[in-house]
């Protein structure tokens, strides 16, 4: 209680700032002084660095998808997955443009609509309409494609929570914290029922990040964290989870003694990464990758293909590109014209950081194995489009930071 009061003196305005105070070189170049009558066209404010870094990751991702799905025939590569991923990326880019074009402030008023739709979809996917794969009821089969509503839900929920928490002035009262948690918690519960632990954990990360920056009292954050830890321990020790799910989550804690499929996955994953060494075995030269030793390599374990074929250099480059993306998103959050814009960026940032750490960390054996994709790299339509949509949100906030 007392500790929170300390904060009052430190509350400082970081929200809207004058464009003349703006930071980066790009902005300064576009700047023509406070007396400018007509602002430059919006597209001049697109964060090019952010876009280029994302495209670079997507290209590397596409190469790795090809490498891990081309089959074992050296003379006839199977291009099916590459073609489909190209289509997804094209759709993702279109989504980005669409999301970035509409002023994000308008989204604020309509945020509840996609939220309700997503809740309905998450409910519907649990019924006979949805399809099940490897024990998880998470997909709608639409012709040749599959829609995973949980992926879409991440972005939609970020918008809804940002819209909600943009209202109150900090510090947030218990009522707002509760409302925020409810908004996040409803879809998260539905996703847990599927069950998809990985995506549910992404919601936890989003919640913590957004509540922290939105101005929740530390007291509340501590309580939420405590409840969360107790909840996880409770779930692990109850029979809510199937044994194999529990194994997936705990294998990484005890990598030498476990046997079975999970340890096999992790071992093969580490062998692929480790055998790549400093500069890798060369593009399309990875034996673990070509011979299919790493399960789910083109989706959840795409990072291992990169590690085997392009080595430490390749992995460090991709992590570096992700770091650039995170920096630009964080910077956009700082520069955002309003609280809603800032919270949108914080939500996206929390999502990206957690997914990258969770996904890459799992391939290296420092995080539990949960099936979540590496943004922009993993094969998959829903994930690719949702990631690009999230990028669109950030670009949107960035472009409109002056008006």
């Amino acid at each position: 209680m007392t500790s929170v009061d300390l904060g009052t003196a430190k509350w400082r305005e970081i929200g809207p700032r004058r464009w003349s105070e703006g930071g980066g070189r790009t902005e300064r170049r576009n700047e023509s002084g406070p007396f400018r009558r007509k602002p430059p066209p919006l597209w001049r404010h697109v964060d090019l660095l952010l876009v280029l870094a994302t495209i670079a990751i997507s290209v590397l991702g596409a190469l790795m998808i090809l490498s891990s799905t081309r089959g074992t025939d050296p003379n006839a590569y199977d291009l099916t997955f590459l073609r489909r991923q190209a289509v997804f990326t094209g759709m993702g880019l279109a989504t980005t443009v669409l999301v970035a074009t509409v002023d994000y402030r308008r989204l604020r008023d309509w945020a509840w609509m996609p939220y309700v739709v997503v809740l309905l979809l998450l409910g519907l996917v649990l019924t006979a309409v949805g399809t099940e794969r490897r024990g998880t009821q998470a997909w709608f089969q639409l012709g040749a494609f599959q829609l995973q509503p949980a992926e879409v839900a991440k972005v939609v929920v970020i918008i809804a929570v940002a819209a909600l928490l943009a209202h109150p002035d900090p510090p947030l009262g218990a009522r707002w914290v509760g409302l925020g948690l409810l908004t996040l918690g409803l879809p998260m519960m539905l996703i847990l029922i599927q069950p998809d632990m990985g995506t549910a954990l992404v919601f936890v990360a989003i919640a913590m990040g957004m509540l922290l920056v939105a101005g929740a009292k530390l007291r509340h954050l501590v309580v939420i964290t405590a409840v969360g830890v107790i909840g996880v321990i409770g779930i692990m020790n109850s029979d809510v989870l199937e044994d194999y799910q529990r194994d997936r989550l705990t294998t990484f804690l005890d990598q030498d003694t476990h046997l079975g499929q999970e340890t096999y996955n992790l071992n093969q994953s580490k062998i692929a990464l480790g055998s790549g060494g400093m500069s890798g075995k060369g593009l399309f030269e990875g034996t673990q990758t070509r011979l299919g030793n790493v399960p789910e390599q083109h989706t959840d374990f795409i990072f291992t293909a990169l590690g085997e074929e392009l080595g430490f250099v390749g992995c460090a480059t991709v992590l570096g590109l992700f770091l650039v993306i995170c920096w630009r998103v964080w910077r956009t959050a700082q520069m955002a014209r309003d609280r809603f814009g800032m919270l949108l960026c914080v939500g996206v940032l929390s999502m990206l950081v957690f997914q990258v750490f969770q996904n890459a960390g799992m391939t290296m054996g420092i995080m539990p194995i949960t099936g979540i994709p590496l943004p922009f790299m993993s094969y998959g339509g829903s994930s690719t489009i949702a990631s690009w949509a999230a990028l669109g949100l950030v670009l949107n906030v960035h472009m409109r930071r002056f008006r």
């Binding site: 101005g215 790549g276 034996t287 673990q288 011979l291 790493v294 590690g307 964080w330 420092i366």
Partner: protein, 670 residues
């Protein structure tokens, strides 16, 4: 405080910074772990990745052949058809389909007489020790028609394939089977024993030498398996061949055997045994069962063996092709006298009077007797200091008394009394001659009681009994009993506990023939590695011992031995022989065996003037040596001396009904 344009309010800046710091920390953690895996751990993971990827498959190599001294092939390879199951594709069939295929295959194999069941097939196909990447053989040497049937009905037999393999073939049939030995599938014990073999690693279902030359020269005969390095995917399915080293056949082994001499020796031995069976037993002796026998022909000039005949013998073909239980039981039934044994090196029989060569040498060399010392043979001998026991008086065989004789005559007529006295005196004057086993020391120089070292399997050492041995032997039976003069007397005429192998006897006579050089009997002349450019590896004669045989010792003994075939105990057997130009020196032996007919023995060499062949003949339960064994040797000498043609060995082995062409050995005690 607020300059908000949209109603938002201020937020503490540090909270956003916390988020940034957390993000950076997580990235640092990832970089650190990446460094750990990809830089520090790289070499170890590279090894693991390689192990994931590569599977090694062995390609069996043909064994080397076995030839006789003139290059005639005794053991060859022939191509045979093998039915095999491709494990890798078989495993990918649905379970019901797998059973269906096995059931159909078992049925078809039964139709062509292969003794398989669906269970035996299943056990074999699922035996995890077979490589997944090489076909698992389930039936070998099936008819060509069956191969065509399988190929025409390939749709009914998915993942069943027909392969070619090499099997042993024996152009001369069972001839020399006991020398060359046989091969068979490697068993558990052998697999374990050869685990460390890396140059020519063994795999399940590989052939391995089980006996004879096949076993003792396994390291040379075995080919170097080829190796196929397969790249496999995560399911273990082969993707491509990375590297392939072709198999290299094993080395050919050239034996010292002359297959013509071998065939003749085998034939004469079998004829001799048959003749013995026809003879009525002597007095109240047991019938002449003539169960086993052996003939050795050795070149005394270098120890090379020209023939090693053994009876009974066996057909190696079924053993090489996979023998059934019934045949195997027959071969191992004591009632059949162990056809698999090579009796020339495994038979241990008392030499009887053929021992007298060694006794005579001991007597002359030690100075106990001089060759011209006159001994009065009264038809028997009373052991000095022995009384109250019927065994204290030993009579000559048949009770004949030869009167005043010297050493040559004692050998020619085979006077036992002469040698009884030698044995007794060696014991009685043991202080003078250098100890209680003085006689055995002299005899031991000839290689008695020890392996000759011939490179064949299961050679037995025989026994040259000494007082110490006897005490230990009786001790084991719980009795305290010492050696007596009677034992020495027995040993002097090759009876009692004294036993040796036909090879030891032939080698002893060969040593005498060449003037005292004892060779290690040699059965392999050279090893011929595969490839045109490879130089043969010769096997040189090995001298084991040089015995000093001065003329004053050798000449009288030789005189005695030559007399044996001309007017002595083997004169009947050698009647009509060209003694003038090709004299044969020999000695008959008749060893008594409790409850059985005597063992007929004959040892000889010729021509006595410049010896080229030394021969020993053993025939168990056959009666007199001069009657039964000497004619066998005589028949061989006929051909070896050129008096009779040496017939070419018949391909496919000897005719089953041997026609007898042996001389009548008469009935002479020795």
């Amino acid at each position: 405080m607020s300059a908000s344009l949209s109603g938002s309010s201020s937020v503490p800046r540090w909270r956003l910074s916390v988020l940034g710091v957390v993000a950076v920390a997580l990235f640092v953690a990832m970089f650190a772990r990446l460094y750990d895996l990809q830089i520090v751990g790289a070499s170890e993971f590279k090894v693991q990745a390689e192990a994931n990827r590569v599977r090694l498959v062995q390609v069996p190599a043909p064994r080397g052949r076995i030839l006789d001294r003139y290059g005639r092939v005794l053991v060859d390879n022939r191509i045979a058809v093998v039915v095999a199951v491709e494990r890798n594709s078989f495993d990918n069939l649905p379970a019901a389909k797998r059973d269906e295929v096995l059931m159909r295959l078992a049925g078809e194999l039964n139709n062509i007489g292969e003794p398989v069941t669906i269970d035996s097939l299943r056990a074999r196909v699922y035996d995890q020790r077979f490589s997944r990447y090489a076909p698992v053989p389930v039936a070998q040497d099936v008819p060509e028609a069956f191969k065509i049937y399988l190929e025409e009905h390939a749709d009914l037999f998915p993942s069943v394939s027909v392969q070619r393999t090499t099997l042993r073939s024996y152009p001369y049939g069972p001839l020399a089977a006991n020398v060359v030995g046989y091969t068979g599938k490697i068993n558990e014990a052998e697999l374990t024993a050869f685990k460390a073999e890396t140059a020519k690693p063994y795999a399940l279902n590989d052939d391995i030498g089980k006996s004879g030359i096949e076993k003792s020269y396994e390291a040379h005969l075995r080919g170097t398996p080829g190796q196929r390095e397969l790249e496999v995917d995560a399911e273990g399915d082969p993707v491509r061949v990375i590297r392939e080293t072709p198999p290299v056949p094993g080395s050919d082994i050239v034996l010292s055997l002359d297959i013509d001499v071998q065939a003749l020796a085998q034939q004469r031995l079998e004829q001799g045994l048959e003749a013995a069976r026809q003879r009525a037993p002597r007095g109240d002796n047991s019938p002449n069962n003539a169960t086993t026998g052996a003939v050795v022909v050795e070149d005394p000039n270098n120890g090379q063996l020209l023939a090693l005949a053994s009876y009974p013998t066996y057909d190696p073909v079924p053993l090489a092709d996979g023998i059934d239980n019934e045949e195997w039981a027959y071969l191992n039934d004591p009632a059949n006298h162990y056809p698999l044994n090579n009796w020339a090196i495994q038979g241990q029989w008392s030499p009887g009077s053929t021992m007298k060569l060694f006794t005579a040498y001991a007597a002359l060399k030690s100075g106990l007797r001089a060759a011209d010392t006159v001994f009065y043979d009264r038809g028997g001998y009373s052991i000095p200091g022995c009384s109250g026991d019927p065994h204290c008086f030993r009579s000559n065989a048949g009770g004949a008394a030869y009167g005043r004789i010297t050493l040559p005559e004692a050998l020619t007529v085979s006077s036992d009394a002469y040698f009884y006295e030698v044995g007794a005196q060696f014991w009685l004057q043991r202080e003078r001659f250098g100890g209680e086993d003085a006689m055995q020391q002299y005899m031991g120089e000839w290689g008695l009681g020890a392996d000759t070292g011939v490179p064949l399997t299961e050679e037995r050492p025989g026994r040259l009994p000494t007082p110490q041995w006897y005490r230990n032997y009786r001790e084991q039976q719980g009795k305290h009993e010492d050696w007596t003069a009677g034992h020495s007397v027995n040993l002097a005429i090759g009876q009692g506990d004294m036993v040796l192998t036909p090879l030891q006897l032939a080698n002893g006579y060969a040593t005498f023939a060449n003037g005292g050089t004892r060779y290690q009997p040699q059965v392999v002349l050279r090893i011929e590695p595969p490839g045109r450019d490879a130089a043969p590896i010769p096997v040189d004669p090995v001298v084991v011992q040089q015995i000093d045989l001065p003329a004053e010792i050798r000449d009288p003994m030789l005189e005695g031995f030559v007399g044996v075939t001309q007017r002595g105990t083997a004169a009947r057997a050698f009647s009509g022989f060209d003694h003038e130009n090709w004299p044969v020196a020999g000695k008959t032996g008749t060893a008594q065996v409790d409850g059985k007919a005597d063992t007929a023995v004959f040892a000889a060499f010729g021509p006595a003037t410049a010896p080229q062949y030394a021969i020993s003949v053993f025939m168990e339960e056959s009666g007199f040596g001069g009657t039964n064994a000497a004619p066998v040797a005589r028949a061989l000498f006929d051909s070896l001396s050129g008096a009779a043609p040496l017939p070419e060995a018949p391909l496919g082995g000897l005719p089953t009904e041997p026609e007898s062409g042996l001389t009548d050995g008469g009935s002479t005690y020795d």
